[in-house]
């Protein structure tokens, strides 16, 4: 218990010192608060951003009112885009990767094209995305899906290819047919690779969502920090950035928990 407390104290020491230094510099008037607001100003802004803007209306539940602020709305919009885009991208990549991993013929047919498309950063698709899908959510989904597609695809292919032949032989010996082999042997055996790909994919999706919100929509965390710049609200920019960091951390924690659960059978897994 004491050891934990000590570790925690060590972990927060540097950030707290930096915040104090930062605050002191602002109080001393070293920087213009328009360019770099004091941490306390950012905290106050963040709180205002988080809290409801209107008083509670008649008939509105307390919970709904608590989440009616700008920040919860933006965070939800961004999260919704990440999840939808990721599901589209990963949902296409998974079956495709399984096929490419299992069949050399399919691999030979598609691999050259994939190798050409893969290095194109999702951001480079922005002009096409707007041309094809206009404004609003669809171009975001498209860009995020592309960001998530390739990591999941490449890892699924690698995962299927590294499946130990001994499992296939044991399964064939038990009389397993092709479909069962795919679903009950190859897929689970490739899961560690696939999940590693999913984790990279969702990280990419999170980068892409912020960028895509700067171009095509009028809510979400990416939109909000760009909007704040137009009003020179640097405190809100930083408050928004902190929120992005927290949301990213939350997503990564959730994915890693899911990972640990799905791979609880896996040797050498560190919890």
């Amino acid at each position: 218990m004491l050891g934990k407390l000590k570790n925690f104290a060590r972990g927060v020491l540097v950030p707290v010192l930096l915040l104090i230094l930062w605050e002191a510099c602002l109080r001393a008037g070293l920087f213009s608060p328009v360019l770099l607001p004091a941490p306390t100003a950012v905290a106050i802004k963040w709180w205002a951003y988080l809290m409801p803007m209107q008083p509670q209306e008649a008939g509105q539940s307390y919970l709904a009112w608590m989440f009616s602020g700008e920040l919860p709305h933006d965070a939800y919009s961004s999260l919704f885009r990440v999840v939808t885009g990721f599901l589209i991208g990963a949902g296409l990549a998974l079956p495709f990767g399984l096929l490419m991993g299992a069949s050399t013929r399919i691999y030979d047919l598609f691999n050259p094209m994939m190798q050409i498309l893969r290095p194109i950063p999702p951001i480079a698709y922005i002009p096409l995305a707007i041309l094809w899908f206009g404004l609003g959510n669809p171009p975001s989904f498209f860009l995020i899906a592309i960001g998530a597609f390739f990591p999941v695809l490449m890892n699924t292919i690698a995962g299927v290819r590294q499946v130990d032949g001994i499992y296939l032989r044991a399964a064939r010996n038990l009389g397993v047919g092709q479909w069962t082999m795919f679903v009950r042997v190859i897929l689970p055996a490739a899961t560690p690779y696939i999940l590693a790909g999913a984790r990279i994919g969702i990280g990419t999706a999170f980068i892409v969502v912020i960028v895509s919100e700067m171009i095509a929509v009028n809510d979400g965390l990416g939109f909000r920090i760009l909007e704040a710049r137009e009003f020179m609200w640097s405190d809100k920019i930083i408050a928004g950035m902190i929120t992005i960091g927290l949301l990213g951390l939350a997503i990564d924690t959730a994915v890693s928990r899911l990972n640990n659960y799905l791979l609880r059978w896996h040797r050498g897994l560190e919890h």
Partner: protein, 263 residues
């Protein structure tokens, strides 16, 4: 009537440079319920022969038939226990044992009953919901045996199943295997390079030669079980077989030296 009939079987592995004859004119007939050990040094083709019976790698010439049907593919009538256990690590012990039955689309109640019986037979009751990574080598091999027993194949093929285990665990599992074989009357084809193991277990020991793999001696063991490894009869046979195996082992060692000198 022979249950496994191995008829003029030959296996050639094509390698760049020269072809390696792994098996040459093997003829064996194995009766139902017989416990047969294939004995020889590494490289004598005993695992190759077992894989041919299993249907993983078919002979280059000759044929193998099981219950009158020529082997062309792996199948659940010839359950295999591998040295590396080959348990599915993402399935629990219970799920591993049930897997073969699920493939055969057996009913839930029947699967449940078989799995429970096998867990008890192999003293695995407390491990049903564990994953293989949490089990010792001996435990894993028990699960692998249970998995093959679950599909109730009349023939069990065992590829050095106890090779990776320590001596005590090994003896323990050998006794378990004999108990199960006694109780269920399976035909067992068991590959080993341990002379002692073959004398302890088998009704019949087939000693194989090193490259090309041929039958050097087809030896019936007429000793009552449980066999006492310290008895005179046990040791006489062990010594005799040991001489045969060592001759082949020396040929293998010479070959290996020649190969490494040539490179």
């Amino acid at each position: 009537m022979a249950q496994i009939l191995i008829n003029h079987v030959q296996k050639v592995f094509k390698t760049p440079g020269k072809d390696v004859v792994a098996l040459k004119d093997i003829n064996l007939d194995i009766k139902a319920g017989e416990f047969v050990c294939l004995l020889g040094p590494s490289g004598c083709g005993k695992s190759t022969l077992l894989n041919a019976v299993a249907g993983f790698a078919l002979p280059s010439a000759g044929d193998i038939s099981v219950n009158g049907k020529v082997v062309t593919a792996p199948g659940p009538d010839r359950g295999m226990v591998f040295q590396e256990y080959a348990l599915f690590p993402w399935m629990t012990v219970g799920q591993n044992i049930a897997f073969g039955l699920e493939i055969q689309k057996k009913g839930k109640a029947e699967i449940e009953q078989t799995v429970s019986q096998l867990l008890e037979l192999l003293h695995l009751g407390d491990f049903r919901d564990r994953f293989p990574k949490d089990l010792s080598g001996g435990m894993r091999q028990r699960v692998a045996i249970a998995r093959v027993l679950a599909i109730d194949s009349p023939i069990m093929l065992m590829d050095e199943p106890f090779g990776a285990l320590d001596a005590l665990t090994r003896r323990n599992l050998q006794d378990e295997l004999l108990r199960i074989w006694n109780k269920l009357g399976k035909t067992i084809l068991f590959v080993t390079h341990s002379i002692e193991e073959s004398v302890y277990l088998a009704d019949r020991i087939v000693v194989m030669t090193y490259r090309p793999g041929m039958v050097k001696r087809d030896q019936y063991v007429d000793m009552p079980r449980p066999r006492d490894p310290s008895s005179a009869a046990f040791n006489d046979l062990k010594r005799e077989l040991g001489k045969l195996v060592m001759e082949e082992q020396e040929r293998q060692a010479k070959d290996e030296l020649k190969l490494s000198a040539g490179d």
